[in-house]
Structure formats: C-alpha cells, structure tokens
C-alpha cells in the first residue's frame, strides 16, 4: 500500500475548520480512505469533534456519533456489539485525542481492550488538550510549555515525562497495536490497512504535531513529525498480542535538540533540560531496540 493506491474519493470533506496546517484532517481523511464507506465513526470531545462539524454541517460522509469525552472505547464497544447482534459486519472506529486517551479515557479504553472488543481505537496525539486551549496532558513531553505548565520564572514547563501509552496498550496483549506518523506515508497506510484486516481490538496511535499548541510554522507540521521519528521522540512499531513484530529504526538518529528547534513550546529550554529530554529518549530507545543508540 502506497499513496498512489489510495482512492480519490474522500469520506471526510474539505470545508472543515481545523487550524491551518493541522495534520489531523489529513490523518483521518487518509485513514478513512482505507477504512472505506462501511465504517461507523465515533469521536469524543476533541478538536476533531469541533472542526469536523458544527451543526447542521458535517465533514463526515459516514455514520457519525458523539456522546461524551471519557468513554470512546465504551461507545465503540456498544456500536460493535449492536452490529454483532445483527450479524452484520461493519468497521467501528473511535478517534480520540491524547487527553481522551491517556487521561480521562484510559479506564474505558483499558476495559474495551481487555474485553477484546472488535473495534479500532485511534489516538491522534497532539501532546496536550488543544481543544480547550493547550493545557498539559499525560502525553505532553517533558519541559514543554502549555497554558497549565507555562515557562514561568520558578517552574519552566512540564516537570514530568510523557506517558508511554502505546506500551500500556501493548501490555493488554490485544491483537494489534501500532504507532504511526503521517510523515511516513507508506508505513502509515500499511498499518491502517493491517488494522482494518485484523479482528478484535486494534489500537492505532498517531502523532499529530499541532502548529497552534506547539507554536511552529504551520507549513512544518509534517517536517516536525518526521523529526520526531528521526530523533526517537516518537517510535514507529507494530505489536501483535503484546509481541513487537516490526520496529522502524531511523537511518540516522538526530539529537532531540534538533527536534525541539522551531517549536515555541521548547523555546525556554536550557542545556540541562535538553539533556534530560535526551536521557528520556535514550532510555526509551534502549528499551525498544535493546541497545543504546550510536552517537
């Protein structure tokens, strides 16, 4: 599967009101091209809910449901069971943000994964509560400035590291877990396709750099996603039933210093903070690849 294999027809229309340069609409549009018409979509409260439609207008061309914030996995469970009872095959997809996944939604998510519900759960991760105006979440990386972890005189940015949500999901030993980046289209599309073909609980986690919240030039969204992968801030891999089956290793690992450049949320970084973030990356790298990166 590659870009040129994707159908022209879109199930997510233009006219949506995402910020200029937000990659989330491209993420969902391209995913939907693979999921196809026979899909039911749920979104909790997040930017996607708001920019994909303000009543009576809607960008979705598939059945679409919203209930609340913290319950994406429970809602898609309900839809999937209703369809199983009918004996009809339909793809049921929930698309939540990082706040709705890492924080308020983790209970329902863990429950649905443990029950191995036949659904696809997508976390599009922009590393803070962007819909409410850039507050820190469990996905916010160390040191990043948000409106609740401002770069203040005493405390500069978030004090804690990012939670490893994909690893938490891998520990549920569900049929499929994958991390994706829009900057790597072939890898992205193959994982979406694999998710579609797999049965049972599938978890897709995609990084979605936010020009407004991360404070960078909107033209750079894809470039920053690419740097996230190349620096090890974001790791692309697949896991089946808890076992890592495929992991992407950047050809040349770049230092985090290069990744954080051009992002306003890291502008206040001191050399010590850069070193702390690099240490986190190296720890994660060693855990996932079994060895320290070559320097």
């Amino acid at each position: 599967m590659n870009i040129k294999d994707l159908p022209e027809e879109s199930l997510f229309t233009p006219g949506h009101t995402a910020c200029a340069g937000c990659p989330a609409p491209a993420i969902v549009r391209n995913m939907m091209k693979i999921f196809g018409k026979d899909t039911i979509v749920y979104t909790p409260a997040n930017c996607l809910l708001v920019f994909s439609g303000t009543y009576p207008y809607l960008a979705w061309r598939v059945p679409y449901l919203h209930e609340a914030f913290e319950n994406t996995a429970a809602c898609i469970s309900g839809v999937a069971r209703a369809y199983r009872k009918k004996g009809k095959k339909t793809l049921v997809v929930g698309i939540a943000g990082d706040g709705g996944t890492y924080d308020i939604g983790i209970q329902a998510l863990s429950g649905a994964a443990e029950r191995n519900e036949d659904v696809i759960y997508v976390c599009y991760d922009n590393e803070a509560y962007m819909n409410t105006g850039i507050q820190r979440s469990g996905a916010t990386p160390y040191g990043a400035a948000t409106t609740t972890t401002p770069a203040g005189r005493k405390i500069a940015g978030k004090l804690e590291h990012k939670k490893d949500m994909a690893e938490i999901m891998r520990a549920h030993e569900v049929p499929y877990v994958a991390t994706l980046s829009i900057s790597h289209p072939k890898d992205f599309l193959e994982k979406v396709e694999k998710a579609k073909e797999t049965e049972g609980f599938r978890y897709l986690h995609v990084l979605s750099p936010c020009p407004t919240g991360w404070r960078f030039d909107p033209a750079k969204s894809i470039e920053i996603a690419r740097k996230a992968v190349d620096s090890g801030m974001w790791t692309l891999y697949e896991a089946e039933y808890g076992e890592i089956t495929n992991i992407y290793k950047p050809k040349k690992k770049i230092p985090v210093e290069e990744y954080i450049k051009g992002q306003g949320r890291f502008r206040h970084f001191t050399p010590e903070m850069i070193a702390e973030l690099q240490k986190w990356v190296d720890r994660k790298w060693k855990r996932l690849y079994g060895e320290l990166p070559e320097s």
């Binding site: 006219g15 949506h16 200029a20 439609g53 009576p56 033209a219 969204s221």
Partner: protein, 298 residues
Amino acid sequence: MYEIRFHGRGGQGGRMAAEAYALAAFLEGSYAVSFPFFGAERRGAPVRAFTRVDDKKIRIKTQVYEPDYVVVLDETLIETEDVLEGLKEDGMVIINTAKKPEEVRLSKPVKCATVDATSIALEILGRPITNTAILGAIAKATGRVSIDSIEKAIIEKFGARLGKEAGEKNAKAARVAYEKTLVGVAQGGKAFVPRKKWLPTVEEMPIGGATPAMETDAGLVGIGSFIENKTGDWRTFMPIIDKEKCIGCKFCWFYCPEGCISMEDGKASVDYDYCKGCGICANECPVNAIEMKREVRT
C-alpha cells in the same frame, strides 16, 4: 454608551485588543465591558469580539448588534463579509490596511479610518501582530479615549503577560499607528450575498438532532455538508504549482489538511475555495514545484 465590534481571525488577538480598549476606557473613569463571541472557530477563522463603554454601570448582557464602531484587524475580511452589518448610521469603520480611506470599497459609503498596522507591527515588534497598533488608530479616529490611556492599558495588559519591554514596544506601536491614521470616507457599492441559514422549527428539527444528508432551502446540511463551507478566505499566502516541475508524486495530495489538492493530467491542482494557505504542500514537495505567494485580493 457606545459599542465597538472587532473583526479578526482566530489567533490574531482581536479579543485582547477589545479587552485592552475596555481597560483604557476604564482608566479614564468609564465603565467598560469586553467579550468575545464564543464560537468553535480555530486559528485563522473569522472571529469577533466586542467592547461596550459607558459612564455608568453597563447592565446589558447581549451581543452587540448595532455597533458605533467597527474595527477590522485583517484586511482580507472586508472582501468576504459585510463588516458594516448593523453599523449605526453615523458609525465609523477602522481598518488595518495600507490603503487610504477613499481607496477602500465597502457595502456603503461610510466614515472610515485606515492605518497600515501590519507594517507598523513588523517594524516595531518584528511580528505581524496588529492588535496593539490598531488600538492607536481607534484612539485617533474616534477621539473617545486618549492615546495616553491606550498606552497605559497596553503596558498593563500586555506587559503583564509578555514582560515590560514587550509591553512598551506594543505601546509604541499604538503611538505610531495613532500618528499615521488617516480619516476619510470609504467608497460603497460592494455587493455581498449573505449566506442563507437553515433555521428549522421544532416540527422541522430532526428528532434528537440526528441528521442525514438533507437538502434545505439554505443548501445541504448533515452528512458531508461541510463541503459548502468555503475556507479559502482564511488564506493569506497561496500555493502556486509549477506544472512543469510537478512530478505527480501525490505527496501534497496526501498531506494537504484540507484535502483540496486533486490530480489533473497527473499534475497537482489546488482548489482555492478551501485552501487555507498553510504551506505544507510547498514545504513537502520533493521537487520544489510549489511556491507560497502573498495573496492579493480584489
């Protein structure tokens, strides 16, 4: 009492301008309130904010429908919507533009003040953030508050957030704008067709709001209807595709957040009705076939 309506785009600081103006009026002993229209619009989308000033407590809590003044922070907005809507008979519009008042064309001839706040902001602040410079223009054009109070309000409001130096620079931008503001009369005659709105009665409203794709007298609503929302007016820079250079790799087609790039004869083509001008296509094009150009709207 007098009322001001600010037109800007999400992220331009229209709300901060409206609040700083209220503070300036308050510093002169007036009672002032300011509030944004709380919408769902994201960065770049047209947004509005309001300020009311009176010499006694303001009790009314409604939005502003018949403003005395209209302030336009982003010149492109006068091309896409009738910013004069509801403006009082003897009202005035204050626009951030390099044009003279007489060169501005609106829906009707109206008192108009202009200032090139963008250039002033670029020169003094180094960034095209016009929400402080425009306050100087309001002071000059309306004479309702003094430029001294505007400066004080800016230092208090912006200085607290951005630091003393930034506060003073912003105050200076307002002072320069004050001095450069031109007052005159804009031309009328520009026609706007307001977009029709679907306003169903209780009987017509789908039960529980569950809505399929429906044709109404105001156009398509429900499933897939956002296609009717043309976001092209958000754009300040437009991508120009060099068809000679384009190799048809479809990366731009894949990455475009709007999904407004299509392939014609194997070459990328942009639907400017939707393009918000983010520049991702130009940044990602492997053969540099796309260039972002400042858009000139007429």
